[in-house]
Amino acid sequence: MKLDAGATVPHTTAAAGAVWAPSAQTGIWVENLSHRFVGGLLAVKDAKFAVTAGEFVVIVGPSGCGKTTILNIIAGLEAQQIGSVSVAGKAPKAGRFDIAYMFAQDALLPWRTVMGNVLFGVEVRSEGGQLPKHVYEEARELIAMVGLSGFENAYPRQLSHGMRQRTALARTFLMPSPVLLMDEPFGALDAHTKLMLEQGLLRLWERDKRTVLFITHDLAEAIALADKILVCTARPGSIKCEIPIEMERPRNIGALQNDARYHDYHRRIWTELAAEMVV
């Protein structure tokens, strides 16, 4: 089942002189993106891909191939050097309210409780105003969704690694940004919790139809979540191939193992990746 928003393939629009076509909505466009770090390391080379509005795109690739770097550039945290990047038709810029970025690190504030941390994103973005009541309720719901009910008043140092990551997840979801960038958000979780959160993420995504760009090393996770999987080459990273995942939604992640297509996808992506991992 193709999504409504996903169907709106970006047209060439009024962005005068642009060779490529930025989406007028909330899509992400990356073209000929290369990135060289101070010191000369070329981390990304000629990456090219698009995420249409409301699409769930997953990036997989060998460790150190430049996936996080690409996300950082899109989020405006890393200066863009060569190529073009556009998010919702605009150039990347750090701190755009229409982008919510979840790092691989939990980045929790040690002096705030779980509740305080979950609220932190919306709080700074509300520009000092009092948060409306429904935000607190929503925060509580999200905390319950990530399985942290009862820990609202715990401090980060009282939580396990996985619990901290789940707190960061709730903080990211609470921000109403239409574009979500997620860097290995479930990296520190056990298989069971992971399954639960993947299902929760899909539910939220099906409700809000946000645009998601998601990095993972877990192929099962990638197939379960994605509309489209981008496979990266080894460093310098570029997109080696795009694999659309044509499985109906809503998906029951637990039942995917019984689906022959799931195993086909797995084999195919694995073959692509394995070719990159040979030294």
Binding site: L109, W111, R112, G150, N153
Partner: protein, 290 residues
Amino acid sequence: MSAMETGSDRASHPQLSKSIPGEQARARRIGAFLNACRLNINRFLILAGFAAVWWAAVEFKWLDRFFFSSPVDIARFLREQFVNEILPNSLETLLAMLIAFALSGVAGVAAGLVLFELPRVKRTIDPILTALNSMPRIALAPIFILWFGIGLASKVALAFSLGFFIVLISTYGGIRNVDPTLIRLSRSLGCTSRQQFTKIMLPWAIPSVFAGLKLALIYCFLGVVTSEMLASKAGLGQLIMYYSGILRMDAVLGILFVMAIFAVLLTFIADWIEAALLGGWAETNTQKGL
């Protein structure tokens, strides 16, 4: 180090301890209380044992009473001179110390923040700061006495010269080593520079500022007593100099004992304030089990 081991169950958050049946929680509280009692009894026994051995050694003439005095003589001195000498001079010393500590705290934190906000100024005066800080400040005491006389001001000046740099360095250092991931978070969320400062940098620096303040407290005490020993009209340091001049070992040791009690009390109060203010979020010494 402090007698606050009982406070370690503040780590168990109300929300978390809810899952523990009340029965068990009470048992744990009682256990913690008994532990604290035993700890303090042990401390007392160590001191009492030491005093007893000392007393016996002097009574049986293994130690010379003239050089080593005796716990009994010390106690007698403290009792007899408490109102006349110990109390007024202690107040004098503590007053100077508190003034110096308050000034060091306010000026040190302010200077630390200003230096952080103005990196160019910081870079310019860095060598000067290092020079001032590594100078043996005690050597400045005669100068301060010359400038400010032998009253309160010169003691405060010496103590301040010690405390200020400690607080300055710990504030600046604390704010400087903020977790870069949190700065990344603040940029990605779009925090204003004001938000970044008040919501991330400042809270981050608090534990380190506290560590600096606790150290400054002790150093201010040291500064005041040193200044009093060199030249002063009043204070415990001056009292010690007077009695050691007339070879009254019981008095000298008695005053040292009073000073030790002050040091312990100050540290205890500082630990307590720290634990109360930082709540459950930062690991205080008590929680680390130090």
